[in-house]
Amino acid sequence: GAGVSQTPSNKVTEKGKYVELRCDPISGHTALYWYRQSLGQGPEFLIYFQGTGAADDSGLPNDRFFAVRPEGSVSTLKIQRTERGDSAVYLCASSSGLAGGLTQYFGPGTRLTVL
């Protein structure tokens, strides 16, 4: 596609449930990033993939959060035992070139609400 796409656009779940958020990067982009944006704040880094491997997962808040990119394209962010504090907009970005490229292009985000 022309840009980064994310599904679903909105997800409402109950505390304790499991959710999956999907990101489809720009075709050919080898680097993929996940960020989380809470209300009134700038995006915060979660994890970065180069190809299929997680090159930097230092931003994942705890072991309830996990992300995969099995074929080096689509990525899924998985959150177990969701908590109300997980409510935020989850943004995905991709970039091209060596060392992840320099410009990250963002998708529209998935708004997660945990009741």
Binding site: V4, A31, Y33, Y35, G40, Q41, G42, P43, E44, F45, Y48, Q50, A55, D56, S58, G59, L91, A93, A99, G100, L102, T103, Q104, Y105, F106, G107, P108, G109
Partner: protein, 113 residues
Amino acid sequence: AQSVAQPEDQVNVAEGNPLTVKCTYSVSGNPYLFWYVQYPNRGLQFLLKYITGDNLVKGSYGFEAEFNKSQTSFHLKKPSALVSDSALYFCAVREGYGNKLVFGAGTILRVKS
């Protein structure tokens, strides 16, 4: 650790007047600096970046930014504001070969006709 400060929560400007949105940064190595814009219920749109070279960088929609190493600043500017420029603006820094972006808290720009 990298950090970005956007000292103004909101900037108000009249249509047709010049605008400036401020950003200062802190990194230990060479900075790669970015500006993004966010419209309501939409993702971040890339505006411009400074990597190396000319301190004045030109970007999309008539925006430009000036890199000042001594003041560790990267202010966003536009000579003549439009009402349609009203949005949330984020400054971000990437340190050298590191890949994550560190964002400021954002500045709301309101342009009034």
